[in-house]
């Protein structure tokens, strides 16, 4: 077989497709096992949480980033470094509250739904990418940042973009009292 120079790129793309396809097969299996969308969403969130608490180690080891000093730095780090590293996309970050603890990541291209055309009619409230929410939540918890992560908008449900909302739960003043 001849080897073209673009082969390495292709291989990289295919190993990402392995993850996307596996995720799709997983969601399909869960839809067969559970009747209610909420059950599937909760299961995906829990799985994401378990993955997130381990992924953070991998992320910190690979990226060697310095400590984030504010919530907005953290949100930027997630969007620009973590998403780029694992999914190859860079969502844009916007702060949506005056207190500075609510952010949204806006993804116009979501690699997880590459092979999904649309949600089936009987699964209208399924959050297909709920795993991502769990992963972010788990990862943040391991660096001592409690947060709530949910999907605010989802392209699969008809919205224009996919938007993930991160709400940091502890007030910024509390961080001063933590020991370094």
């Amino acid at each position: 077989m001849s080897r073209s120079p673009g082969r390495k790129q292709e291989n990289h793309k295919i190993s990402r497709e392995l993850f996307v396809l596996t995720y799709g097969a997983l969601v399909a299996q869960l839809c067969k096992d559970y009747e209610k969308d909420e059950d599937v969403n909760a299961y995906l969130d829990r799985m994401g949480y378990s993955i997130g608490i381990r992924l953070i180690d991998d992320f910190l080891a690979r990226s060697a980033v310095k400590k984030c000093r504010s919530y907005s730095e953290t949100a930027d780090m997630i969007a620009q470094v973590a998403f780029k590293m694992y999914l190859g996309v860079t969502p844009s970050v916007s702060c949506s509250s005056a207190m500075g603890n609510e952010f949204s990541l806006i993804l116009d291209k979501n690699p997880l739904v590459d092979f999904v055309e649309e949600l089936p009619a009987e699964r209208a409230s399924l959050c297909y990418c709920n795993l991502l929410c769990g992963v972010i939540r788990g990862a943040l918890e391991m660096v001592q940042l409690a947060a709530e992560v949910t999907f605010l908008q989802d392209r699969l449900k008809g919205d224009a973009v996919t938007e993930i909302g991160i709400t940091f739960l502890r007030k910024p003043e509390d961080r001063k009292h933590k020991r370094n």
């Binding site: 295919i14 392995l18 993850f19 097969a25 381990r54």
Partner: protein, 160 residues
């Protein structure tokens, strides 16, 4: 390269989650393995389609098995199969001495009884890939000492 970590974590979570759900629910162990294998089958079908889009036609079954051992395994697990044996009558044994999904678990006999759970998905992956290349088969796996494992592929020969 970072994708590898994602897939490894997702896979171990899938196995853990399915078995946990089975313990709380029906308590049937065999079904979990079937579920994992069928997931792997679907993924293998899709993956091999995208992978072999531009490759030349395969000459025979041995050629296909060599492709699985070299290119397919390298793309999915970042290394080649270490040993391929066959009896030229449809049975192939693929041996991987350092299987990526088991290296993090143990290096020896510890947790040997849990190893088959982590091989079911890959069995399905191989079976799905072969099925889309036109070979109907049964794929089983065995582990005698982690992280080395063997995949056995038996052809299904349909009567004429």
């Amino acid at each position: 390269m970072a994708d590898e970590a994602l897939f490894l974590l997702l896979h171990s979570e899938m196995v853990a989650g399915l078995y946990r759900a089975a313990e709380q629910g029906e308590g049937e162990n065999g079904r979990c393995t079937t579920k994992l294998e069928s997931m792997g089958f679907r993924v293998g079908q899709g993956l091999i389609e995208r992978f072999t889009k531009d490759t030349a036609r395969f000459k025979d079954e041995l050629d296909i098995m060599k492709f699985i051992c070299k290119d397919f395994w390298t793309t999915v697990f970042k290394k080649q199969i270490d040993n391929l044996r066959t009896n030229h009558q449809g049975i192939y044994v693929l041996q991987d001495n350092k299987f990526r999904l088991l290296t993090q678990m143990s290096a020896g006999k510890q947790y040997l009884e849990h190893a088959p759970k982590y091989l079911a998905f890959t069995c399905g992956l191989i079976r799905g890939g072969l099925s889309n290349l036109g070979i109907k088969s049964i794929v089983t796996a065995e582990v005698s000492s982690m992280p080395a494992c063997k995949y056995l592929k038996y052809s299904i020969i349909s009567p004429l």
